[in-house]
Amino acid sequence: MPEPILNLKEVFKTYKSKGSLFGVRPAGLVKALQGINLEVMRGEIFGLVGESGSGKTTVGRLISNLESPAAGSVLLDGEEISNLHGRRLKAYRRRVQMIFQDPYQSLNPQLSIYESVVEPLVIHRIAVGRERMERVLEMIQTSGLSPPEAFANRYPHQLSGGQRQRVAIARAMVLKPDFLVADEPTSMLDASYSAKIFNIILEMRRRFGVAILFITHSLAAARYLCDRIAVIYKGRLMEVGTAEEVIHSPLHPYSQALIDALPKFGVSEGIPRYDTLLEVERDGADAAGCPFFVRCRKAHRTKCSREVPALEALKPGRYVACFFPGNGGGGDGTGL
């Protein structure tokens, strides 16, 4: 039985939005996360899939302790992380690392690759002298930059975006963390470079047994990397399950819409079309119901607009937040 390493319990996060100058738009609260429950197992790659503004990046920032939740708790090995300070925060930082989305912005332009990668070791006073150097070089090599000596002396501006992202991976992994947050690590890169990054992430898991939260907007990418996938929409989880389950038999209309939207390379056989997205959005954006109600073709006019469906388990490990799970299509290819 795999044991969980990270838990999110009823996590809420709100941001203050500034009102406009003449009060046309009042200042208010943007609800980024509305009660997220998550569990990531030791050594697992967990995919968090959603569009921009869904709150997926916020989840990553909460876990890496760049921000604190408004309510709820984030637990690493059962220990609450949001009120860590001083030495205990530093110990936490050693165990949880992050890869950022934009490799052009996430490396200090003034530091050489070696200096960037060695910094976490310096901060945590791990290894000294040759041992430290070897550890850095080894991690640069494992990240696919070979020979590492040639890269160690370069500066970020001398590398391509993909190479920079590898450096960022090396910097995150040099501490051999237990948990890694990867926030859309390939969205700024050429599509053809993604596979390299994916394979390096898999290699890191294989070697160091690190658990990974892989944040992405692409279900296809999540399929290749992840053991389990959660689909997030407007700060709520819509569906959780193993990667194959979510991709081959999605139950939530939103996950189904995401699958419909993926490019098919001109071949459509074997891929069902769910067709759950409305052409024109419904009125009722401020309705108290399901967040997907306004875009959902399958929604029930009264029930879905009034009640928020809870994320409920259909069977162990398979959750969906919909009153009519699997209502759309069901994979028979008829497209309803």
Partner: protein, 326 residues
């Protein structure tokens, strides 16, 4: 596992590489890298015609400052302040003995001009250094700390910024009599930092938002490390740039003060020379006396400005990119 570095070999390969690399010395490499970057910047800088001309003039002025010790060593009558040619007691035009002529009491103008270069550098660079150190420290503190520290420091900066430096120095001079040259440097330093601090603050603010700062936080870096390792190296080039512009303004202020008669009476600066020309009524009679210090002041400020502009190009990635492509 198909990893492109050919699967299971990776580990042993990496190990081999590390084993065989015995002479790998990070300290050596960092230094040479830093030097390399500097040289790279220099290469861009020196391509710029402005930078080339500016540096050329500055080297010339530097030589003048260095040579200012030679004439008094040859003959005491060439001492810029106290040396008087015993045969001449009035202003005379250029001659072999006095290349640029003499002033109203028979002092050598050429050796005064050389001494003036030394003073210009001294005042310009030390005042600018003070402004920039102050401005950078305040700007970084305000930008990084934010909240009320930011508000407080920036209000102070605003207040000082709107005070006219020259007027204030004049008032001080009127209060305390003649100011010595270091007092002038100090006052310029204390009054000219707000502009720098504003720029540094906004730069710090934008850096603070950059993901690499967040990455450092995730790595466990404390405030001091973030400030000194991540923000400062990215801010210092800008400070350095501002320093060249501040040198210009410091030299101008000192010259203006001296010309108005509030300079340090114990030093020979170009502004001082102009004041003597003016006070003794030689303004329109002795161009050999009036023009050299005038031209020197204009040229030295111009060349610092040009150097600054050329550095701007080195630092501005957009301008630099174009340079690289062309």
């Amino acid at each position: 596992m198909p990893i492109w570095t050919r699967g299971s070999d990776t580990e042993s390969e990496a190990q081999d590489k590390v084993e065989t690399e015995h002479r790998y010395d990070p300290s050596l490499i960092q230094r040479s890298q830093w030097f390399g970057q500097l040289m790279e910047g220099w290469a861009v800088f020196i391509k710029n015609p402005l930078g080339r001309v500016g540096i050329g003039f500055l080297v010339l002025f530097g030589l003048m400052a260095l040579c200012s010790f030679i004439p008094p060593w040859i003959d005491p009558m060439y001492r810029p302040m106290t040396g008087v040619d015993p045969e001449i007691a009035r202003s005379t035009g250029p001659s072999i003995k006095h290349w640029l002529g003499t002033d109203f009491m028979g002092r050598d103008i050429f050796s005064q001009l050389l001494a003036g270069a030394r003073i210009a550098f001294l005042v310009g660079v030390s005042a600018a250094f003070m402004t920039v150190v102050l401005g950078t420290a305040v700007g970084m503190t305000a930008g990084y700390m934010g909240r009320f520290v930011d508000t407080f420091l920036m209000r102070v900066a605003d207040i000082i910024m709107i005070m006219p430096t020259l007027l204030f120095v004049l008032m001080l001079a009127a209060l305390f009599g003649r100011l010595n040259i270091w007092a002038i440097v100090l006052i310029i330093g204390l009054f000219r930092w707000p502009g720098v601090s504003r720029v540094i603050r906004s730069q710090t603010l934008s850096l603070k938002q950059r993901p690499f700062i967040e990455a450092a936080r995730v790595a466990g870096a404390g405030h001091l490390r973030i400030i000194f390792r991540h923000i400062m190296p990215n801010v210092l080039p800008l400070s350095f740039l501002y320093m060249t512009f501040r040198v210009t303004s410091a030299i101008t202020i000192e010259a203006a003060l001296a010309f108005l008669g509030f300079g340090d009476p114990g030093t020979v600066s170009w502004g001082m020379m102009l004041q003597w020309v003016w006070k003794t009524g030689h303004m329109f009679q002795a161009p050999y006396w009036l023009l050299p210090p005038g031209i020197c002041i204009s040229l030295i400020t111009l060349s610092f400005y040009m150097v600054g502009r050329a550095m701007d190009e080195v630092l501005d990635p957009r301008l630099r990119k174009e340079e690289e492509v062309l």
